[in-house]
């Protein structure tokens, strides 16, 4: 069984086709990267999984459920997709403390208070921010804020975790540590991840599978080794160099 399936997905902005006939399957528990230059459609693909954008053609499936199928007028709103997401700009809410930020998805689901507390404490341990629950986001570093965002994305035990260039706002040294930590947490929790990046080194270091995209299309899909050793054409060879 696969966790996420794209079948012939297309997306237009006006007459401009930004995602063109994209199909892929992501196996359960794997980390799948969408790699490509800016404007290649990778973030749009990620946002279509989340339900933040609607595809115009094709179907998107999360687990067993078809979440978007425009021909049959089927569209599941983002809040019902059970997908966690980590944004490039962290998107940690400045008016809530760390506990309230992370507890938000559980409060929305009306979970009992003591259980919420347990879950938040547990997830804070996992992202290595124990005891930070009373702090406010503006007292945290960028890396710490990103960990809060990661915790918030994971706390509701989502079906999938979506990461949109999560490291691009961090400095180089922190980036490598954070990259390793994300991979560690992902395998520890065993969650399916979609990871969007324009940095080939990042993609190679973290992924089980990589899809290289260009101009709205997937050019090549494979393991990091496949792509490194057998680039399918000049574009891929040039981009990963």
């Amino acid at each position: 069984m696969s966790a996420i399936t794209f079948t012939k997905v297309e997306k237009y902005y006006g007459t401009n086709r930004v995602v063109n006939n994209v199909s892929f399957e992501i196996s359960n528990g794997k980390l799948f990267s969408l790699l490509g230059p800016s404007g290649c459609g990778k973030t749009t693909c990620l946002r279509m999984i989340a339900g933040l954008e609607r595809n115009d053609q094709g179907t998107i499936q999360i687990g067993e459920e078809i979440v978007s199928d425009p021909i049959n007028k089927k569209f599941v709103a983002p809040e019902y997709r059970c997908a966690g997401m980590v944004f490039q700009s962290y998107a940690v809410w400045p008016h809530m403390n760390i506990f309230d930020n992370i507890a938000y998805p559980l409060k929305i689901r009306k979970m009992p208070k003591n259980e919420i507390k347990e879950r938040v404490t547990e997830i804070l341990e996992i992202v290595e921010l124990p005891g930070m629950d009373k702090r406010f986001p503006n007292t945290l570093s960028g890396g710490q804020q990103q960990r809060v965002a990661l915790a918030r994305g994971l706390v509701m035990k989502p079906k999938v975790l979506l990461l949109d260039e999560p490291l691009s706002n961090l400095d180089a040294k922190l980036r490598e540590k954070m990259r390793a930590d994300i991979r560690h947490i992902q395998t520890q929790v065993g969650i399916t991840c979609v990871y969007v990046t324009h940095d080939q080194a990042e993609a190679f270091a973290i992924s089980d599978q990589i899809a290289v995209m260009d101009k709205g299309e997937i050019v090549q899909t494979g393991t990091p080794d496949d792509i490194r050793n057998r680039p399918i054409n000049a574009f891929v060879a040039d981009f990963i160099r």
Partner: protein, 545 residues
């Protein structure tokens, strides 16, 4: 040359924006004029005016908040049809003088002759009441909250809301849990501005409140000042300190609030995904259009009907006439004079404010003079100060002698013009300042190296680049001054009619049953709408509503 021009600008700033208020406060509190502060403030009619002002401004703030809140979500976050046009129309009352709304609602809801009451067959609505006053004011002042909400919500990083969607919250929950708390400081500051604006407003309280015997501080001051004696002026001025007090309290709270603003503006301009309303799209659209009808179109329609009616309150076709226009524009002897005065005042005030604004924002941004950052604070002060206070401060400062020179400016167009410049200089400084910000120092340096002196560089490099901001600044000052009433009514005298005071006079006593005020109101709305959309076009949507 440079020093001379900038020095004169600073002198102007001081004489217009600081000196009169110092004089006002000095003369009232430390002066020897025989006004007993205690007598005035313990007088029961004063206390009633203060109480009325509080009730009406808080009531207006409450109703305005509800209107603005209802509009803010559909106008920013959804795929509501015609959103762009709706936004512009809902914000338009910001530019229309409130006394026009007063006239409109008197035509609609006068207990005897109101159009709505006549249509319904019996007297349901009575505009001459607290509710009437609050309703008429809210129809204008909700725009203060709406504008601050719209701009704050537009600038918000959309991923903050998307993160909440993915956490499982529906669109409305996201709005109340995330968006609204994040823009709360701007929201609250909008509400405070409404309280201040309604406490300081004159047109609606005078036209609706006076016949209802509901007096506010501004209308009470007007009565005192119109007694024509120095004693009356000083009593009015003393009372105006109360308004100044309200203004200062509001501004201090506002300054504290703005410091608490969250930094939620994203660096990259993400394409925010709009919420699809689905089946609710058209029902919501109809509700919003009905709100627009009651807030904007119904009042404008009432004015149009009244302007074209022989007999007020009758809406049959046989009642149609253009006599009102003929009477106002060719028979009423004050009209040409008022029109000319308003054009003259608007033109001079807008030009002087724009030029002065340019030099002042140059001083603030491009020089290293100590205390330069005070300039924008100083010009913001008269803008936030109630018009009534400005008018009285100028009367007291410039009536007997000017800083030792024995010339009186009281009862001159000059004094009215100075009041306009003082009040709206803020617009000019901000707009020209935005323009200057676009010019990097190196452009100026390149011109200087090429052999241009300071003035030549200003003329050949700066002014051409700045033209759009200068034009916008001119019209942004021209619009409110063209039909100003609150200050003008206190500063006017025989032969000094303006469109605002003439309209007031027609409505209050000289043309009560004639629809003449409606003719002028229609004219003013038309001019303002044209200017507004011209400014919007020239500035590519940056200024204008």
């Amino acid at each position: 040359m440079q020093i001379l021009i900038l020095g004169i600008s600073l002198l102007f700033l001081f004489v217009l924006c600081l000196y009169p208020f110092g004089t006002l406060i000095g003369k009232i509190i430390f002066g020897s004029e025989n006004i007993s502060l205690m007598d005035l403030f313990t007088n029961s009619s004063t206390l009633t005016a203060v109480l009325n002002t509080l009730i009406i401004s808080l009531g207006t703030a409450f109703l305005s908040t509800i209107i603005a809140l209802l509009l803010s979500w559909p106008l920013t976050r959804t795929d509501l049809p015609g959103k762009k046009i709706l936004r512009s129309l809902f914000c338009l009352p910001y530019a229309i003088p409130p006394f026009i709304g007063a006239i409109a609602w008197i035509y609609l809801a006068n207990p005897q002759t109101g159009i709505i009451n006549k249509l319904l067959g019996y007297s349901v609505l009575n505009i001459y009441s607290y509710t009437g006053l609050i309703w008429a004011m809210s129809g204008f002042f909700y725009t203060y909250i709406l504008l601050s909400l719209l701009s704050a919500l537009d600038r918000m990083d959309s991923s903050l809301e998307e993160a909440a969607r993915l956490s499982g919250a529906g669109p409305l929950k996201v709005f109340f849990h995330i968006s609204l708390p994040l823009v709360f400081p701007s929201f609250l500051s909008g509400i405070l501005l409404v309280i201040l604006a309604s406490a300081a407003s004159f047109g609606i309280p005078a036209l609706i409140g006076n016949p209802a015997r509901i007096y506010m501080i501004t209308t009470k001051i007007f009565t005192l000042q119109k007694m024509g004696t120095m004693n009356g002026i000083y009593s009015g001025a003393t009372l105006s300190l109360l308004l100044l007090g309200i203004a200062i309290i509001v501004l201090v709270i506002n300054a504290v609030l703005l410091k608490k603003k969250f930094q939620v503006i994203s660096g990259k301009t993400a394409r925010p995904s709009l919420i699809s309303l689905g089946n609710y799209k058209w029902p919501l659209f109809i509700i919003i259009c009905m709100m627009l009808f009651f807030l904007l179109f119904l009042p404008l329609l009432a004015i149009a009907i009244s302007a074209f009616s022989k007999l007020q309150g009758d809406i049959s076709l046989s009642n149609f006439t253009i006599d009102n226009f003929i009477r106002i524009f060719s028979e009423v002897e004050e009209t040409p004079r008022a029109l000319l005065n308003s054009l003259k005042l608007g033109f001079v005030a807008a030009s002087v404010a724009t030029i002065l604004g340019l030099f002042l924002s140059y001083l603030e941004q491009k020089t290293k003079i100590k205390g330069r950052s005070l300039i924008s604070i100083i010009v913001a002060f008269p803008y936030a100060t109630p018009g009534t206070v400005i008018a009285l401060a100028l009367i007291i400062t410039f009536s007997s002698n000017i800083m030792g020179i024995p010339i009186s400016l009281y009862n001159t167009l000059t004094l009215i013009g100075l009041a306009y410049i003082a009040k709206y200089l803020n617009f000019a400084v901000r707009t020209t300042g935005d323009g200057l910000q676009q010019i990097h120092d190196c452009l100026h340096e390149a011109a200087r190296i090429s052999g241009a002196d300071w003035w030549t560089s200003i003329k050949t490099i700066w002014i051409p680049i700045l033209t759009p901001s200068l034009v916008a600044s001119f019209f942004l000052v021209f619009m409110p001054t063209f039909s100003e009433l609150t200050m003008t009514i206190l500063l006017t005298g025989p032969g000094l009619e303006t469109l605002g005071t003439l309209l007031f006079q027609l409505q209050e006593y000289s043309d009560i049953s004639g629809g003449g005020a409606a003719v002028l109101a229609l004219f003013i709305v038309l001019v303002i709408a044209i200017i507004n959309y011209t400014v919007k076009l020239i500035s590519k949507g940056k200024y204008g509503l």
